[in-house]
Symmetry: C2
Subunit: 428 residues, 2 copies
């Protein structure tokens, strides 16, 4: 039986999960694949911390990542250090040394796509299933199962932290800040939660999804990105009354006019599958030309779900190694600018002074900007001692630029007391 | 560039879809895979019928399947004849001639697993993604993405016809027979619908799923199978009031006591993702040891969704051909008997005479059989001129054998006027 040797760099939560599976399931993997996948080295600066997987044999431990990357008998380098510092050196050095690289590092891949994808090619020497949606095989399914398809649109719930917070706010009728604190205590949110709740992590993943699904690369920092920090409980409750849940979506549309990529909270109709994705779960909804609509759902984070995806990549990499004739031609990746003009329906919540004539002023500005109103809801939910009330508008389809202009004009009215909350309605 | 030659046998709905994709997307597939996948022959007895994909070049047409299976320059044989007659000869002859076989034929594979899987091996020379859940990559995801996992349980909505009928009954408040006739008119149900509505097609798929997910083969005819023909609209309405939808499920549990496989209608709680699967869509929900819970959702039938899966198999087969070093060791398939004793909660609807003392009689029999009642509902829904009313019971967890015994005893009471409707509650 052929043997393939693996070096795992980074012995944190995910790294320890991968190590545990590779050690525990070596025989099972042999039986299932016909290849002996052998864990040769585990690299970390510190092995004293208990990783909850028992003792790691001394002879597997290595403190210098360069030794792993340069070892002639290591075939596959698994990078699980994270971040965009040393991880970049590890991935690039390993690829240059003709190792196959497996990584879960979405920040690195999406921000340094030009450097990395010029020498690393999915399905050949760079595997990153765990970088997007954890255990869910979105990379494999887009590349292999949907190989005969043009993907027209994708809608992803790709950040478990945000989805947990939004689910919990609604379920327990709690405000954002309260749930965020709970989530931090439970380990579902980082102490510095910006990467998640500001939508940046979702933009990283969307950049990679665009590359896979549309063959087009858009740097994550150029993707219009909104987080969930200005959502209030009442938005979830109003949306619920109207038959919607609110989700942080990563949206991609490959249109004739160009590529439309964006990350933002969205009202998703209850009839749609995506609105049932609760808690820390992730999902990717795809619209394709041959296969029709599809959805893939599962755990987007966590030690073993993520490690499960890493190990499936290691197995695919091992198959490439034992059969080096696999053709390496891959779809060329276009580096693509994105579409600037998109339109949709909007949910807007204004906090206004409870006085006649306010609606007339607001609707006047909207009308001037060619935005027409589909419905208005003015429910008395003002707290005692306050003279403001929420005013909810649903618009008909409106262009993004016009909407932004109208909203900033309305926000300057003296009867409008807080920054308006604007949420796109995603009509699926 | 390496070229791989394909022969498609069976030029019906799916066959014509595969032919169209292979011809239209040859260049795209070249770009994506680095292999030239060349359609060499299309085989059918009759090419005069318009298949809605335009003219097929004369030189591709072949009427004798043996010529395709024996052609030295054909690498991949795609069997889309269907049924278990000639299709069996085609698949076995092609495998014996060292062709790689791609098929969508669940009846053939599940009923003749012993003959076929003794020479055909998934991932090596026998591909059948399209046989289960159409476009949804359940075979690939179980075998490859979840390679590091033990699958504990699976719950599948694997028959689009049944799911369409149940969805439509509830949505339009119509009885089974009415919706079945509509579905037949729309082409969603066959004129002889037994294979679908009696659950047989689901049992075929479950037999294959068991083989993939648990590595254990159970002949489909030994899987306890119930269809949807005795469900009435009121069952869907009662279930709805209690917070459930009713779905025809294919259930598999790999327990320490043995394998539990079954096909039957089930109450699925609204909070669960599977209850959102509507219309002709299919879904497979998996519980795994490392990756946690997952669900795959999409079109389970139809020309292009099914053809999309067939073409993805053709591409995987082509990769095996151009790199013949892919290891052929696969997990051994166990031929397995199934677990006979399972228990669950039950929904039971009795049609009883509207008279005091009826509930006492029924609950007496249940109690004698150690089945305890969780709730009772006796809503007045009897039609005018009838002296019977529906009596709905929800039981606590009860063993299947005891339940059957109790129900047959109750059915013989003179106050019970119709065969009781018994539906399992699947607590996910």
């Amino acid at each position: 039986m052929k043997r393939v040797n693996v070096g795992v760099i980074g012995f944190g939560t995910i790294g320890a999960g991968v190590v545990k599976i590779l050690l525990k399931k070596r025989t099972l993997l042999k039986k299932r694949t016909g290849i002996d996948i052998c864990l040769k080295k585990i690299c970390d600066r510190d092995f004293s911390k208990d990783r909850g997987i028992g003792k790691v044999p001394q002879n597997l431990q290595e403190k210098d990542w360069r030794k792993v990357v340069n070892a002639p008998d290591i075939d596959i380098v698994v990078e699980l250090v994270g971040g965009i510092g040393i991880a970049k050196d590890i991935v690039l050095s390993a690829l240059k040394n003709n190792k196959i690289v497996v990584t879960a590092n979405k920040a690195l891949l999406s921000e340094y796509a030009r450097d990395i994808f010029s020498i690393g090619t999915p399905e050949t020497n760079l595997f990153f299933e765990a970088a997007i949606c954890g255990a869910i095989p979105v990379v494999k399914d887009i590349q292999e199962a949907l190989v005969a398809n043009r993907i027209k649109s994708l809608y992803g719930i790709v950040n478990g932290t945000c989805n947990y917070i939004l689910s919990k706010m609604f379920e327990d009728t709690l405000e954002f800040e309260v749930v965020l604190k709970q989530a931090q205590k439970l380990g579902y949110a980082e102490k510095q939660p910006g990467l998640d709740i500001d939508g940046i992590d979702s933009a990283h993943k969307l950049s990679l999804l665009s590359l896979l699904a549309f063959g087009k690369y858009v740097p994550p920092e150029t993707i219009p990105t909104e987080g969930i920090t200005n959502l209030e409980l009442m938005d979830l409750l109003f949306a619920d009354e109207m038959g919607y849940s609110i989700k942080l979506l990563a949206v991609g549309n490959d249109t004739k006019q160009g590529l439309d990529l964006r990350v933002h909270p969205a009202l998703v109709p209850y009839e749609h599958m995506l609105s049932s994705v609760e808690g820390v779960f992730n999902a990717l909804y795809l619209q394709t030309d041959e296969a029709g609509d599809m959805m893939f759902y599962g755990r987007g984070a966590g030690r073993f779900p993520t490690a499960s995806a890493v190990v499936s990549d290691v197995v695919d990499a091992a198959r490439v190694i034992v059969s080096p004739d696999v053709p390496s031609a891959r779809q060329e990746i276009e580096f693509s600018p994105r579409l600037s003009e998109v339109s949709c329906r909007y949910y807007v919540r204004f906090t206004v002074v409870d006085r006649p004539g306010v609606l007339a002023k607001i609707s006047g500005i909207l009308g001037k900007n060619n935005i027409s109103i589909a419905s208005v809801q003015q429910t008395e939910r003002a707290k005692a001692g306050s003279n403001t009330v929420p005013l909810i508008l649903i618009t008909h389809e409106a262009a993004e630029k016009k909407m932004k202009k109208a909203i900033s004009e309305i926000a300057r009215l003296d009867v409008v007391k807080k920054e308006p909350v604007v949420i796109r309605i995603v009509d699926l």
